[in-house]
């Protein structure tokens, strides 16, 4: 959100122009494309390449080397993993997959995705307490039963006793991870993350990011805070989810593609849980709409130096290429902490970063209704 009204630097104009072609509103994939994703390796490879905003990041290079690559290190050669799993107190079962993927329809896949969101073991978490955490599952594996996090564990937020599915996270992952290794070098830093933040970088530093709000993902042109992935459609998101789960398991397994695609469709459907939007207020149009453009309230990525946020994350080559995505503001009022690193506790704290005189109360009231 860039509320300033300074002169627009030439560099920004160039960045926006360069990215504009990749920032159009998201369009649902055709049913044919969804089926192609499920059954056609060449299609998946082409879709991956099209979705990478840059090939220079480590994130991109690993996927280019191992996703649908057709060689000896191809993740396609890994076993498909669909273990029996269940939340504490429920009976374990595997997700029901179709043996006729060409006949699958959106509604069936979305229902599978909803089930997977709360049941599929996205990442093993041996550090979880026996009592578990919200939406963690017990997974049946060759050596016995272990705990795992699901999508819902990290992408569900409790607000006043109500659970907002997809809206960031209430989980204090740093404290939980310290249970496994209290003497780890980064234990103190992790303890200070607080709920809803996690470090996704692979170096030895401490760089926690805000766990994103998935509800408005359908309105967002790019995925990841550093805009490393272009979300052309649900297939791009499915590949993002599929490779996320693969790397979350060290590349030892891969999820069923029906699960990855179902999750993508389900996550896009979360936008329907957001309230209807009122026409943009004058103060919003004046101060915010330059970057957060209605009706998506999102827009093309912007140069990190102009984002009113610490640019360090965007300048690391692991996942970033000097820009931040412009997240949709739909749902921002119930998102909790804001900015890529969660450094603004709420809307008022965020707006305090922006100079100038404007009706902050009116703007906050409008934003909270999005």
């Amino acid at each position: 959100m860039d509320l300033r009204q300074p002169r627009v630097p030439g560099r920004l104009i160039l960045v926006v122009l360069a990215l504009a072609g990749t920032a159009s509103a998201q369009v649902a994939a055709s049913d044919g494309d969804l089926r192609q994703y499920l059954v056609d390796q060449a299609f998946r490879r082409a879709a991956l390449e099209r979705s990478l905003a840059t090939r220079k990041t480590q994130y991109a290079r690993e996927r280019l080397q191992r996703y649908a690559s057709g060689d000896a290190v191809d993740w396609d050669l890994r076993p498909e993993w669909n273990p029996p799993a269940a939340p504490l107190g429920e009976t374990s079962h595997t997700l029901v997959l179709s043996d006729r993927p060409r006949r699958l329809d959106r509604a069936t896949l979305t229902r599978l995705g909803a089930d997977a969101f709360f049941r599929y073991p996205a990442q093993l978490a041996p550090y979880l307490p026996e009592a578990g955490v919200d939406h963690a599952v017990k997974v049946v594996m060759p050596d016995g039963v272990g705990w795992a996090l699901t999508c819902a564990s990290c992408h569900t937020r409790r607000v006043g006793g109500k659970e907002l599915i997809g809206a960031g996270s209430s989980l204090d992952l740093g404290v939980l991870m310290n249970r496994e290794a209290p003497n780890a070098p980064l234990a103190q830093a992790r303890a200070a993350w607080g709920p809803g933040r996690v470090d996704v970088s692979s170096d030895d530093g401490d760089d926690p990011q805000r766990i994103p709000d998935l509800r408005p993902l359908r309105f967002t042109s790019h995925l990841q805070h550093g805009a490393a992935v272009i979300q052309h459609d649900e297939v791009a998101l499915a590949i993002r989810i599929e490779t996320l789960i693969i790397t979350a398991h060290g590349g030892a397994i891969r999820p069923p593609r029906q699960v990855a695609l179902g999750l993508a469709l389900y996550i896009w459907s979360l936008a329907d849980t957001l309230p209807p939007v009122a026409a943009p207020s004058a103060v919003f149009t004046q101060r915010c709409a330059g970057c957060h453009r209605p009706p998506t309230f999102s827009g093309p990525p912007i140069d990190a130096a102009l984002a009113h946020a610490d640019p360090a994350h965007a300048l690391r080559s692991e996942r970033s290429h000097g820009v931040y995505r412009v997240p949709s503001l739909r749902g921002v009022g119930s998102r909790g902490a804001l900015l890529h690193d969660g450094s603004a506790a709420d809307l008022r704290a965020l707006l305090a970063r922006f100079p100038g005189r404007f009706d902050r109360n009116a703007l906050i009231a409008y934003l909270q209704g999005l």
């Binding site: 996927r63 080397q65 993993w81 003497n183 070098p185 692979s202 990011q209 030892a252």
Partner: protein, 193 residues
């Protein structure tokens, strides 16, 4: 015809996957032949007098057994003086797991499906595996597991190295994958998100 083609492709993929799998080339170089009892007289901690932290001397560390105050690194952050404690002295202190002796950071328990090679059958090996994203810390194993006849690797050398034009400096290493119950070449990309 379509069905036949599909089957041929499936067979070809199956053969390829077998051919493509890495195979262990040597016995595991790191394995636990026998259990050891840790030194009950842990050396005094080494603090950095120029650093702050949660302690200044060993006697400040009273929250556990054999507390020691020592300077610890925090990745890119400045080192601080921190307390550490012994969580165990022998395997018996760790339930079904085993005790790793570590004088600098304190002895700690690890989970797994074996304690020593003998638990893995005749000629078997019980080896330490490392957590995903181990560059993040902890700089210590995450468990001990038996090698199996289905293993893809025994040592890191069995696993693909990053290509010169590859995906980064970390490549893959040999680790135990509980999902499939065998040792396999696992990525070192940090897994979250």
């Amino acid at each position: 015809m379509i069905n036949l083609s599909s089957r041929l492709v499936a067979v070809a993929v199956g053969l390829f996957s077998v051919a493509a799998c890495a195979k262990p080339t040597a016995p595991p170089s790191d394995h636990r032949a026998a259990a050891t009892a840790c030194n009950p007289a842990r050396p005094a901690g080494k603090i950095d007098a120029n650093r702050s932290g949660d302690c200044k001397k060993d006697r400040d560390c009273k929250a556990g057994k054999n507390g020691r105050c020592a300077s610890h690194s925090n990745g890119r952050m400045a080192p601080t003086n921190q307390c550490s404690y012994d969580a165990c002295g022998t395997d018996a202190d760790c339930g079904k797991g085993l005790c790793v002796c570590e004088e600098a950071d304190g002895n700690y328990c690890l989970p797994g499906n074996c304690r020593v090679d003998g638990d893995c059958g005749k000629g078997g090996f019980c080896s330490p595996t490392w957590p995903l994203c181990s560059l993040h810390g902890p700089y210590q194993p995450s468990g001990y597991y038996c090698h199996t006849p289905k293993d893809e690797c025994h040592n890191d050398d069995d696993c693909p190295k990053p290509a010169k034009t590859g995906y980064g400096p970390m490549g893959t290493r040999c680790g135990y994958a509980p999902e499939v119950g065998r040792w396999t070449c696992v990525s070192q990309e940090c897994p979250v998100g």
